[in-house]
């Protein structure tokens, strides 16, 4: 089963997204912030990471920078799921391992499963 790490600091949104992904057949692990995500990455070894940008404490960029510095995590595909999508360009973030940007303000319920399918092709 495909393992997904969902890093989202809003508990209600995290619960909703995790529910959708579980229903879609993914094994989901939740992390509310960057430090817990690092711990989860070590233990779960996710196939894909869904990452909010503005997290409590360190932002997604600090986390992505750290992941890029490790040999066993730098190739893990990242999907950014954010309210800041209109300010971000995928080509600027490709070097961080970002494969997709999903706009939280316009996304539909099946957008995250579709994004995962897209990056794991």
């Amino acid at each position: 089963m495909t393992k997904v790490l969902l890093v989202e600091d809003d508990p209600w949104l995290a619960e909703l997204e995790a529910g959708i992904l579980t229903k879609a057949g993914y094994d989901v692990t939740l992390s509310p912030h960057a430090p817990s995500a690092i711990v989860a990455i070590d233990s779960v070894k996710p196939d894909v990471i869904i990452l909010d940008v503005l997290l409590t404490g360190s932002t997604a960029f600090a986390l992505m920078h750290e992941l890029q510095s490790y040999g066993d995590t730098h190739a893990t595909p990242i999907i950014l799921c954010t309210n800041m999508a209109e300010n971000l360009k995928l080509e600027d973030l490709a070097s961080y391992g970002v494969k997709r940007i999903v706009d939280k303000t316009t996304m539909q319920l099946d957008d995250l499963p579709a994004a995962i399918r897209g990056v794991l092709l």
Binding site: D10, W12, L13, L16, G19, I20, N83, E86, N87, K104, T105, T106, M107, Q108, L109
Partner: protein, 243 residues
């Protein structure tokens, strides 16, 4: 000297006000996006027709609020970012917007249509900013048109001025003469809150005026007996005439 200091102080005050507004808009995005997601989730479940109608209204209302917050954060970035302008067919853009807003208009018992031109016009604009202006005018028209009426998007060439005007015509209560004078005055003196209609802060029009100004364009309004037309005027593209 005093005048100069006063002017700078006022400018700094306006800038601070806009910054605060932008920060507030950004903070509002997360809860609004969550409300929308929760409504979508609810709608996908087993609900009655009446519950579905209410949940759709929550979704559409949160999307409307998200557009406004997005416009606010975008307006704050106008000074910092360069943006491309290109020849654009406004009729095609209007058709895309009609398709996007159709569910919202339908939920309010209104419709939105584009008047077709046999000879398409091109104007020079940034696609994203022009789209936001037209969405804004359409939103304004939605809430001030009579139920059962259609809001029309009209595109005309103003040959003498070398511009193209995209107008959004609604059919609703006429603006009072007093309200009209205030509107005209405010349209000419941005940045300020523009009182578009009674019970409106005019924030959307203020943002639209900023977007138009950034593209060397203008916005304005025409009063009718049975409603109003809000329009944006931008430089016509000469691309076709050079062919």
């Amino acid at each position: 000297m005093n005048t100069c200091e006063g002017s700078l102080g006022e400018s700094a005050g306006v800038h601070h006000e806009v910054s605060s507004l932008t920060a507030a808009a950004h903070e509002l995005k997360s809860p609004l996006a969550l409300v929308r997601q929760l409504a979508l989730q609810l709608e996908s479940g087993d609900v009655t027709d009446e519950q579905r109608r209410l949940v759709q209204q929550i979704t559409l209302t949160s999307e409307r609020a998200l557009r406004l917050t997005s416009d606010l954060t975008r307006s704050a970035r106008l000074e910092d970012a360069l943006f491309d302008v290109e020849p654009i067919n406004p009729e095609q853009l209007c058709r895309d917007i009609v398709a996007e807003l159709a569910p919202l208009f339908e939920a309010h018992g209104r419709s939105l249509a584009v008047s077709h031109r046999s000879h398409p016009l091109l104007l020079v604009a940034n696609r994203d900013l022009l789209r936001r202006i037209i969405m804004n005018f359409s939103d304004n028209a939605l809430y001030y048109s009579q139920p059962g009426t259609a809001v029309h998007m009209q595109i005309v060439a103003l040959k003498k001025a070398g511009t193209v005007r995209v107008g959004i015509r609604d059919y609703g209560p006429a603006l009072s003469a007093d309200m009209w004078r205030k509107l005209q005055k405010k349209l000419k003196h941005s940045p300020q809150s523009i009182h578009a209609r009674p019970q409106s802060s005019g924030l959307g029009l203020f943002i639209a005026s900023q977007f138009a100004e950034a593209m060397q364009g203008t916005i304005g309004a025409t009063r009718h007996r049975d409603g109003a037309t809000f329009y944006v005027e931008l430089q016509a593209s000469r691309q076709l005439s050079l062919l």
